[in-house]
């Protein structure tokens, strides 16, 4: 007889397994999924959804008014430009936007835990980490407007390019962290110089071989890397239980390092746990895995339609756990912040949004030569020839109307809507 603990869904309704399953998951299905991942060892929490502050013996944090006000401001501004990104896409100014709504605490907490010398490897939703690393939000826009595959200097701010192929960055980050160790910048008891790396990925990504191999390598080489999984419960339309029977942070133990589950909507807990984890790494005790338990409040991307696969009432229920609201409540109730503070944050946010919008609208299409730039570090005859021939070809048309660059000709008009609708699927 098998102990129950590794039986999936002991109380599963067998009818759910049959071919008659309805295409839309039932409310119970959803709730079961949530419960399953939510249960298990408790979340680390420092600021409750009701705004109550507590402390945790393992993850101490000196919570000052300035700290909390700073985090509040970060979250409000990040949310503000995130919402602007959505709006810009709706208005046709961006091809796609990847919203982070609901994940502000998970990102700002982790982002503010980093030291300048630390390195971050984001996936594609980490606008809040970008913000904390000092990337100007406008620098994120090129990718989403289709003028760029990058847009910021990944070295200067130690914030790597967005990685779209799910899981790839887990290995790249591990390699980078191995380099930090090979450079002798780990374990010197010098927290201002010793380094660590943090890599961001989603619940869905945990299934990819690359994330596994990242953990294997990190363990094998004692790499100072924090595997930061934002479990937002969904990989596009798939609930996290498609990826795992058990809470994701439990994976870490299988590799012989520590896994922690934190309330991803609690910015203080995210900050404290991530800071602890980064410090562990920089002092030579890495790697560490963190599962930030949160919820994707918006669509996967602006191309996605979540009404097809999840119930609005579950999303509604998650509003009670809003990451910003609990901070606002605490700031207000404790008297740490007054109306002026909130008003000025709001003003900053609106100003940022306006600047963000203006930049997006003004972003220009790069010249045709950009197609050929930086394929290699130096020119080569084969590509130079293709470029020259292409520019000559464009030149030939420069007197007239220009070439018909449309690969679909006139009839494409009819499908433009369709093409737009998917233009952004990520």
């Amino acid at each position: 007889m098998a102990p129950d603990r590794w039986i999936k869904n002991p109380d599963a309704d067998p009818s759910l397994d049959g071919p008659g399953t309805s295409g839309v998951p039932s409310a119970e299905h959803m709730v079961r999924g949530l419960r399953q991942t939510a249960q298990g060892e408790g979340l680390v929490e420092l600021l409750s959804p009701e705004g109550e502050l507590s402390s945790h013996p393992d993850y101490p944090l000196d919570v000052t008014p300035d700290l909390l006000k700073g985090l509040y401001r970060d979250m409000v501004l990040v949310r503000r430009f995130d919402r602007e990104g959505n709006a810009l896409q709706r208005q046709g100014q961006l091809g796609i936007w990847v919203p982070l709504l609901g994940q502000e605490a998970a990102q700002v907490g982790a982002g503010r835990a980093m030291k300048p010398q630390d390195m971050a490897f984001p996936s594609y939703r980490e606008h809040g980490i970008a913000w904390c690393r000092g990337i100007d939000p406008t620098e994120l826009l090129g990718i989403f407007r289709g003028t760029d595959h990058g847009g910021w200097d990944p070295k200067k701010n130690r914030f790597h390019n967005y990685t779209i192929v799910i899981g790839n960055q887990a290995l790249n980050a591990t390699g980078y962290a191995m380099g930090q160790r090979f450079d002798g910048l780990v374990g010197n008891n010098d927290p201002d110089r010793d380094e660590a790396t943090i890599v961001f990925f989603g619940d869905g990504a945990t299934s990819q071989g690359d994330v596994h191999e990242g953990m294997v390598y990190a363990a094998s080489f004692d790499a100072p890397v924090v595997f930061y999984c934002q479990n937002n419960q969904w990989a596009i339309s798939e609930p996290v239980e498609t990826q795992s029977r058990v809470p994701l942070h439990q994976r870490a133990a299988g590799y012989g390092f520590k896994g922690i589950r934190v309330d991803g909507n609690d910015v203080l807990a995210c900050l404290a746990v991530t800071r602890w984890a980064l410090d562990e790494c920089r002092s030579g005790n890495g790697p560490v895995m963190i599962e930030a338990f949160t919820y994707r409040m918006d669509a996967h991307t602006t191309s996605d339609d979540p009404t097809r696969y999840r119930l609005a009432d579950v999303t509604e229920a998650w509003k009670m756990f809003d990451p910003i609201e609990r901070v606002r409540v605490h700031l207000t109730r404790s008297g740490w912040a007054d109306d002026d503070f909130f008003a000025s944050v709001q003003a900053d946010a609106d100003e940022l949004a306006a600047r963000f919008r203006a930049h997006a609208v003004g972003l220009e299409t790069p010249p045709p030569t950009r197609i050929f730039d930086h394929v290699y570090s130096s020119p080569n005859p084969q590509l130079e020839r293709q470029e020259r021939e292409f520019l000559d070809y464009l030149e030939d048309f420069s007197d007239g109307d220009g070439p018909d660059a449309s690969s679909g000709g006139a009839s494409l008009a009819g499908t433009a809507a369709g093409a737009n609708a998917v233009g952004g699927v990520l």
Binding site: P19, G23, A235, S237, S303, G408, V425
Partner: protein, 351 residues
């Protein structure tokens, strides 16, 4: 044949008849490629309950392009499977299911996300029949929405078909019309060989009429789409409509292009291309894929070898540049266009 086998034979016949009736009913009005693919999956699943659909978001959501829309609802979650987010897993478990007697139709969500599965495709999918000297077959289809022109971010607009054409043991196909989409996918699912099925995602919403009088034996062979005398233009998949438009435009300039749709990219069926080139003496090959070591190189090399004395000009190519796919605001410059094709035809005829 036992009675129960006979009975299920009859049921199968019945199902086949139903499916045929369904098709006939809608054959009159034009449908999109997306709809045709959806219907093909549905028909294949109705006829053969060993056919499975699997991939990321193919179930409840119906796929990010909605190609599998409604299938989970009707066939259940054991036949329309939302898999964990891991492409090697999709293909690798697909292999196991095929060994078990299933016919998995795996979806890769985008061209650029096929590569995690590349090892399973090369090492297991392509070689299983050879390794086992036919003891195993590998009746598997891997559907890949491919190509650019949809204004997407990186990795969502690639044309990696040449990589698969280089791998022996795989069949590589790409339809360019709704009718072909339907019948070629049906054919691919029925084949005991693995098929990498490249779907022209940019054309998902283009419409056409389903032809019901199709010969399954030739549905995946190269086909002359338009007859002409001056120059042969060969293409496939997403570039086909552009090529057809170029042919129309050329006509107004007094040039008669013969257009051939390859449909199967590997193993190649170059018979119609050879016949055409023997007539026109000129050949232009059109594809979005980068040029180097590609399907367009192969067509050029083979046709030159086999029709050397017929060619009045070298085979010319309109292809992607040997660069990564550029940011989408530049993609219309990168892709084969009507003018690029006409320009290249001119260059060929000028020899």
């Amino acid at each position: 044949m036992t009675t129960s086998e006979k009975a299920s034979e009859q049921t199968a016949d019945q199902i086949r008849a139903d499916v045929a009736a369904e098709i006939a009913a809608i054959a009159a009005k034009p449908i999109t490629i997306a709809k045709a693919l959806n219907m093909a999956l549905r028909a294949a699943m109705e006829i053969d309950d060993k056919v499975l659909v699997m991939g990321e978001d193919v179930g409840t959501l119906g796929g990010v392009f909605r190609i599998t829309d409604g299938l989970k609802k009707d066939f259940g979650e054991h036949r329309v499977i939302d898999t964990p987010l891991a492409e090697a897993g999709i293909v690798g478990t697909g292999v196991g299911l095929a060994l078990r007697g299933y016919k998995p139709v795996c979806e890769m969500q985008f061209d650029g996300f096929t590569f995690p599965a590349f090892d399973q495709i090369i090492s297991q999918v392509a070689k299983m029949q050879y390794r086992s000297q036919g003891a195993w077959q590998m009746p598997m289809v891997i559907r890949i929405p491919f190509g650019g022109g949809i204004g997407a971010v990186e990795h969502h607009s690639e044309s990696p078909e040449s990589l698969f054409c280089h791998i022996a043991g795989l069949r590589v196909m790409s339809p360019s019309t709704p009718a072909d989409a339907y019948w070629m996918l049906r054919h691919a699912i029925e084949l005991p060989d693995p098929v990498i099925f490249f779907e022209p995602k940019r054309r998902y919403w283009e419409k056409g009429v389903l032809d019901t009088s199709v010969d399954p034996g030739t549905i995946a062979s190269s086909i002359v789409r338009r007859e002409g005398t001056d120059c042969t233009v060969v293409s496939y998949g997403p570039s086909m409509p552009t090529v057809m438009k170029a042919a129309t435009a050329a006509e107004t300039e007094g040039r008669s292009l013969e257009v051939i749709d390859l449909r199967t990219l590997s193993p190649l069926d170059l018979g119609p291309v050879l016949a055409s080139v023997r007539k026109t003496g000129h050949l232009v090959v059109v594809s979005e894929a980068p040029r180097e070591s590609s399907i367009t190189s192969e067509v050029a090399a083979r046709i030159t070898e086999e029709a050397f004395y017929s060619l009045a000009a070298p085979v010319l190519r309109v292809a992607g540049f040997d660069t990564p796919y550029p940011p989408s605001k530049l993609e219309e410059l990168y892709l084969p266009s009507l003018d690029k094709i006409l320009d290249t035809v001119d260059r060929s005829l000028a020899y």
